[in-house]
């Protein structure tokens, strides 16, 4: 029996972030030299989107089937700020996050208290609403099917001039923003608030009985998740050079769900791995066939049936099993 005081002292030691975060950032740092730069940039952006999405799904236990709403609203908000208000690139990112947070707050106010399936359906419905709004009635501002074009030439002025139309600088700009966001998300998940989210995922009734306001926690989780998704969207607009209508399309919501599950929704970095594998596969397979959806759908069905923990999750489990057997 260890002494209680020794255990107390050991429990108190905590660092800044976990090793796994640094390792991931390191890999992402050198990624553009391993695969094509555009693909690497897309992996960064969707990786952030997936992490933000998983804050809600894997860590809070709430399924949103319409996360494209936040990605897309962020993409358009950032794009519109650049095109109509001629703000700086940094400002467009902030605008995107704020606008998306407000949208998430609105949807949360209407739907977060509801049973899981209802929220999933309502979130999908709202995403579809935004899609159709951008397509038709607000075509004048959003560019409709063609997307938001004619965004001014993208460059950074501060802290030093960077040409964002060139692939490598664009990558490292994106890496900088996404890297900070990853650290922020990791800290949020390991904070007291993050622990409450995990408790909600494990047992909502018990969390409530322990004295936590579950509805408020879920609401905040949605707002944070949405806001970071919006950041990813704004980065996507900068990457593409225009605001794409596809960011609001239902398949975007579906894809991010599949990528997250593929990587492992109960781990922190799983979603990013899922994104990497998914996009790499998509890139490769699309060369041979248009029927990518059939492949990815079948893969998803197989995942759900046989590997619900995803790649990273299954690896983690095997590692833990081996460790406990030793």
């Amino acid at each position: 029996m260890e002494k209680l005081t020794d255990i107390k002292r050991e429990k108190g030691k905590v660092g800044f972030v976990d090793k796994s975060v640094w390792i991931t950032l390191l890999i992402l740092l050198v990624l553009p030299f391993l695969i094509s730069k555009p693909l690497a940039t897309e992996i960064l952006i969707y990786g952030l989107f997936a992490l933000a999405f998983n804050l809600l799904l894997g860590h809070t236990g709430v399924l949103s089937f319409g996360h494209a709403a936040y990605f897309g609203v962020g993409a358009y908000a950032g794009g519109m700020a650049l095109r109509y208000f001629h703000v700086s690139v940094w400002t467009s990112l902030v605008v995107a996050m704020v606008v998306t947070a407000l949208v998430a707050a609105g949807i949360g106010a209407l739907a977060i208290k509801k049973k899981g399936v209802y929220f999933a359906m309502i979130s999908l419905a709202f995403a579809q609403m935004f899609y159709f709004m951008a397509l038709s009635p607000f075509r004048k501002w959003t560019g409709g099917e063609d997307g938001l074009k004619f965004i001014p030439i993208l460059k950074l002025e501060f802290p030093f001039p960077v040409d964002l139309t060139s692939a490598l600088p664009l990558y490292y700009f994106t890496f900088f923003v996404v890297g900070l966001a990853i650290i922020a998300l990791w800290r949020i998940l390991d904070s007291p608030f993050g622990r409450v989210l995990k408790a909600i995922r494990e047992n909502e009734v018990r969390t409530r009985a322990t004295g936590y306001n579950v509805n408020r926690a879920k609401f905040l989780s949605l707002v944070i998740s949405g806001s970071f998704s919006g950041l990813a969207g704004a980065l996507f607009t900068i990457y593409l050079g225009y605001g794409s209508l596809m960011t609001l399309f239902w398949m975007t919501s579906g894809s991010i769900l599949m990528m997250t599950l593929l990587g492992g929704m109960h781990t922190f970095i799983g979603p990013v791995v899922g994104v990497g594998v998914f996009m790499y596969l998509q890139n490769t397979i699309s060369v041979y066939t248009d029927r990518w959806q059939l492949f990815v759908g079948a893969l998803f069905v197989a995942l759900v049936l046989f590997f619900p923990d995803g790649l990273v999750g299954t690896i983690k489990m095997k590692y833990r099993e081996r460790k406990s057997r030793a």
Partner: protein, 248 residues
């Protein structure tokens, strides 16, 4: 009077699960609620803890009306509970289960500090684990515990939230006779050491008779009898309605 209910009722459509119960609890008491199946004991508990809203009647805690407070609000005010079917966080470690309960009294919406850096919360969790004899299992995943250990864990979680009143819903359910004896002593021990008020719902009459200061008998949603263990065991009507059998 630390906790009292006045004419509290809970109706589910036509079913009168609880039908006008007056309940008085003084600080430091250990009171048991007994009665046949369907008497309304768990429903009454759920009313006390805020899981259900009363259809009629009021609940007052330390003089304030808590009838319409939600479960988390009631918990924050100092009434915590364990459930009839153990409710813990299965995939978290034993330590984290209790730590998050202890954290509830400190902070919920802090986004920036690392949760493990709240030393007082950690200490509280470890002390509670020591009290319910789960300190050595602290790094185990909660779902791997035995049934009895899980019940202890849940009691620990209820304690870590620093309650003034602890509600225990059939804590010894599913335990072996040996475990039941140990649990009984633990509960009485907790009551005395921490000077807690405890309310117990129990079927096992040996437990009830041994540790209760006071007993309330419910039948069909109404109060049948109230008094100390001797009074209740002598009560003919109680004997008739609820033959007070021990473990089946």
């Amino acid at each position: 009077m630390q906790l009292e209910t006045n004419g509290v009722c809970k109706y589910f459509g036509g079913l009168k699960a609880v039908d006008g119960v007056d309940f008085r609890l003084s600080s430091g008491q250990l009171k048991s609620i007994i009665g046949p199946n369907g008497a309304g004991k768990t429903t009454f508990f759920n009313l006390l803890s805020g899981f259900y809203l009363p259809t009629k009647g009021t609940i007052h805690f330390e003089g304030k009306d808590i009838s319409r407070k939600s479960m988390d609000q009631v918990s924050q005010r100092g009434i915590t509970k364990t459930f009839q079917i153990t409710q813990i966080f299965p995939r978290l470690t034993v330590f984290e289960n209790v730590r998050i309960a202890a954290q509830s009294r400190k902070t919920a919406f802090n986004f920036w500090r690392r949760a493990g850096s709240f030393h007082d919360v950690n200490e509280k969790a470890l002390e509670v684990l020591d009290l319910v004899m789960l300190l050595d299992s602290r790094e185990r995943i909660a779902s791997t515990l035995s049934h009895g250990e899980k019940r202890y864990l849940e009691i620990g979680m209820a304690l870590a939230a620093e309650p003034k009143i602890l509600l225990l819903d059939e804590p010894t359910a599913g335990m072996s006779p040996a475990e039941t004896v140990e649990a009984t002593h633990l509960i009485r021990d907790i009551a005395d050491r921490l000077k807690l008020t405890i309310v117990l719902v129990e079927h096992d009459m040996s437990v009830v008779m041994e540790i209760s200061d006071d007993i309330l008998v419910l039948n069909e949603g109404k109060v049948l009898a109230e008094g100390n263990p001797k009074t209740i065991s002598d009560n003919e009507e109680v004997q008739r309605v609820y033959l007070g059998g021990g473990k089946k």
